[in-house]
Amino acid sequence: MKVLIKGGDLISHSYVGKYDVLISDGRIEKVAKDIDNDNGYREIDASGCFVFPGFIDMHTHLREPGFEYRETLDTGLKAALHGGVTTLACMPNTLPAIDNKANVSFLLGKSKDLHLADLLVIGAITKRREGKELANMGEMKMAGVVAFSDDGSPVTNSHIMRRAMEYAKSIDLPVISHCEVTELSNGGHMREGWFSTYFGIYPIPDVAESIMVARDIELSYLTGERLHIAHVSTKRSVSLVKQAKRDGIPVTCEVTLNHLLFTDEDLFDYDTNKKVNPPLPTRKDQDVLYEAIEDGTIDILVTDHAPYAPHEKEVEFQRAPFGISGLDLFSNMLFEVHRRSGIGMRKLVEAATFVPARLYRLEDKGDIKERNLGDLVIFDPTQTWECLPEILYSKGKNTPFIGKEIKGKVIATLKNGEIVYDAEEGMMRRVEEIEAR
């Protein structure tokens, strides 16, 4: 079964511009101008649309096991495909935490059976994410994890973090650090600045993040371990990462689409759908984040997809949990970042495809080129649609875009050369099913 995508505007590391893509047996066979369809390939008309490599979102929360009322693998992976994400990594802050091989195998096995997006699993650094004893990292590596992180509960004890990084280095997997000095952020709900003062919301100073960024960079220097800083949100963090890279320390970092689209000023309406940790940046810091994408200080883009049930978010601002649901809107948000920041689409797309594939050694993903997997997104930048809760596949409707008009639309998402999401038909698992209609 061959699929030919015709007339699309490719944006990827290897190809940018008008090319046709021929997919055969799940892999890209050929990328070229005007491929003739005289062999009866199934043809997809992508004229007027962008064609991206399937996005790779390295920071999501799928809530399973333990919080299935917020999200399940099924709803989360469908939301991913809806947003154009074909590979995603989930954080271990579940109940129980993903801190042993059984839990890793459970997630990987279950996600494979669903035949939706590919799931990567991030294991915990310490048992139960308590920051005390190392989790069974080696065992989890054998079960298939791609990195370690204690996610929202940073390892506060610097000695434990040092040992964790040394150990992770010995099994050649990176550590992802959520940098937050909780003594400084505790009790706060938004970025400290004029707007936290004006809105009367208890603040979180920017250094609550950068102080731990500095610590972890120093530990990376000490141990030589690959360190990935999760969701940088301040100019100080960017500056520290930039210097560390200059010094040859093996550090990389990510920014969330939320932090590129919203600022502290946007909290004027106390909308809990805009409450996120780290808190939304000041406009000044957001400009620094834009520059850091341009100059490569920031390596990758993620959603930090954090779905919540409506009743958890429909409370007073300071009582609401932190987190924004993002998978369904990945392509839209990325496009919106381009529109607002002026950063080129290729740069943004690479930061969500080619670069994460390189960092996490996903050999045949993250690019549109011959022999790569046929994971592709067809995105029409001209269509607009209203972001109604029922359109989102995620159980988490907690996005600032809810009820708003959105520019651009995912027309189809292909996984291994099969259309797994189609804007008109919805979720579809197999090409055979499409043909049966």
């Binding site: 400290e192 809105f199 208890y202």
Partner: protein
């Protein structure tokens, strides 16, 4: 120009509108000295006082204002409500909204609660204090008190001394007195000043004497003991010594300066007992002014019927 508007914070009004509120309050003052302290201005209007946080003076002040204007008053306080049974804020509002309330007065420990209330009701909302965010009706009564005494704002210097960080009154006062064109000088240890406080258009003085220098109005703020344990200042004794408003420090103000405080006061902490009882203290008048300014607001927002003897 006022009817149907919400009062989330004082900066929803411009100078002209604030002066109009003061003038309306002035005309209401006479009602409070009548033998029968009641006018039918808001007859048939249903007002609900939603107090999710304990309050005595603000709640009573609103209640008296509402009753004087003949509104039908319902009180909802968190301690006696179903909130204790675990009902959410949203459900409480949805329940009340089904009962035909025309105006809500809301006090809540959480900033933004009045904005949230507005999501679930079409009634008029008056913020009676939300967390450390805002307390617009206290600011308006403070503004009226100054207007009554000074008949001017543009050549008036206001000194605010104390825990500005935790004071929604100070935050609303700073906004309002800047709208009215006054000069504001504030003073507190930096632990009790919110970030970028100068953006209100105020100057930060290092010493209380400096803030009070040539002031027309000196305002003290309540200092709470629990701030000590959160590392914001070493002791009440030291606080009083360094930032307390004493007769000595008041000498730096203009001879006809007035002393204000939103209450309740801590004698011997932010205010020296002699200062609190001195002739320049207008603290008791502020309480009376609280009633008339709230009457004025309720009247203007609900668009009540013409009252005899007023415009």
């Amino acid at each position: 120009m006022f009817k149907g508007r919400d009062v989330i914070d004082v900066d929803c009004f411009n100078k002209e509108e604030l002066l109009r509120i003061f003038q309306t309050a002035e005309s209401f003052k006479e009602i409070l000295s009548r033998p029968i302290k009641k006018v039918p201005a808001l007859r048939g209007k249903r007002v609900c006082n939603l107090f999710f946080e304990p309050s005595t003076r603000t709640r009573i002040s609103f209640e008296i204002a509402e009753k004087t204007l003949s509104a039908d008053v319902t009180n909802f306080t968190a301690s006696t409500s179903s909130l204790k049974k675990g009902e959410s804020f949203k459900d409480t509002i949805l329940t009340l909204s089904a009962m035909g309330i025309d105006l809500y007065v809301i006090r809540h420990s959480e900033p933004g609660a009045p904005v949230m209330l507005k999501r679930y009701t079409n009634a008029v909302v008056i913020n009676a204090g939300d967390g450390i965010h805002a307390h617009p009706t206290q600011a308006i009564l403070d503004g009226y008190t100054v207007w009554e005494k000074k008949k001017d704002f543009t050549n008036v210097k206001i000194a605010i001394i104390g825990d500005i960080y935790h004071s929604r009154v100070a935050r609303s006062d700073m906004k309002m007195f800047r709208i009215l064109g006054s000069e504001i000088s504030i003073c507190a240890p930096y632990t009790l000043l919110p970030k970028d406080v100068e953006n209100y258009g105020v100057t930060v003085a290092k010493k209380p004497e400096e803030a009070i220098e040539n002031a027309d109005v000196v305002m003290g703020l309540r200092m709470q003991l629990e701030r000590q344990s959160s590392g914001l200042f070493p002791s009440l004794r030291e606080y009083n010594e360094m930032f307390g408003i004493t007769p000595e420090r008041m000498k730096h103000a203009k001879p006809d300066a007035i002393l204000m405080h939103p209450g309740p006061i801590n004698r011997g902490v932010e205010l020296d007992s002699y200062t609190a009882d001195a002739t320049y203290s207008v603290i008791p008048e502020q309480v009376t002014n609280g009633v008339v300014t709230r009457m004025a607001l309720l009247y203007l927002l609900l668009g009540g019927v013409q009252i005899e003897g007023t415009d």
